[in-house]
Amino acid sequence: MSEATVNEVGPHDGVTGLVDDWAADKQAYHVPWGKAMMWIFLVSDTFIFSCFLIGYLNVRITTTEPWPVQSEIFALSFGGDPIPLILIAIMTFILITSSGTMALAVNFGYRKDKAKTFWLICATAAFGASFVGMQAFEWSKLIIDEGVRPWGNPFGAPQFGSVFFMVTGFHGLHVSAGVIYLLWVAFRVKKGYYDEKGFEIVEIAGLYWHFVDLVWVFIFAFFYLL
């Protein structure tokens, strides 16, 4: 009898053993599966954004044409002298504000305060939408007033336009998708869809939103400031 038991639970050899070792019922992550999957997705997204930023690093180093002066190109005038980089600074603060409201939404979600959670997620989505709006304004200003194109611009290295439209465009796409995702979650919170299931989904949506803010931290530093 003891031999039979050993055969059943003991480790097999060869291919069967390989399959057992990797596919047995072991749990690596003690979090809801949705959260683990969101983290895996975010790690893969990190690699995509990193490829873009490293591509930017490479063309920025290799081009022998001078890189355009970002702080003057992204300056904005409110009647008086142009203030350098002001719109980008406002967009940065808006995204941080939205990260704060999202963090609070996650907290109130776990407290099962549905009204506060709903309104905080809506506020987050509204900040996100205004961020995209400002980005659209910035794009149109650059395209129409300054003549910046993905293949060239009047200031210097043509790679400036390619990197700008690709990196900020891909980030803007993430923000837009995030706004839709958040509104969807907010709607379901309000409808009471998570009363039984639990409010982990708010935290999972929050992870995505904070990640979008996180990517902007790097874009702000590498593309606009350096």
């Binding site: 690093l57 890189w67 702080s71 776990y110 407290r111 935290e203 400031l225």
Partner: protein, 130 residues
């Protein structure tokens, strides 16, 4: 652990980190506003960037309260990017030097600014080139 029934923490820490992120962003912007240049600019911008990124991941995304298995899954793989960045920098510098040495590109070329192009006063092509 906190993970079992979700991440619940006092609200105070979120407010503190929120304010801190505002302050750090303000500092980053101040670096540009006061036109700090050279090595100091790079040091300050990158320091503030990593501090902001660290606080967002650690507190807002709850990484400090997660179990080590999950934290290492998140933070481990991206560290190989440092090697990638290093390789591409070396390769980029090599390519640029080849272009200067053999293709006759101008080392002292200066970028134009919107002020130069629109003929406004105070245009100073690329004084702030970095």
């Amino acid at each position: 652990m906190a993970s079992a029934e979700g991440q619940q923490h006092p609200l105070g820490i979120y407010y503190k980190i929120w304010i801190l992120l505002f302050v750090l962003s303000g500092f980053s912007y101040a670096v540009d506003y006061y036109n700090v240049q050279g090595a100091m600019r790079w040091t300050l911008v990158i320091t503030f960037m990593f501090l902001k990124a660290g606080f967002i991941v650690a507190i807002f995304m709850h990484a400090v309260w997660e179990r080590m298995a999950l934290v290492l899954t998140i933070l481990g793989p991206p560290t190989v990017l440092l090697l990638f960045i290093g390789l591409m920098s070396i390769e980029g510098i090599y390519t640029e030097e080849l272009r200067f040495a053999y293709m006759g590109h101008d080392r002292d070329a200066v970028a134009l600014t919107p002020a130069d192009l629109h003929g406004e006063e105070g245009g100073h092509g690329g004084e702030e080139e970095h």
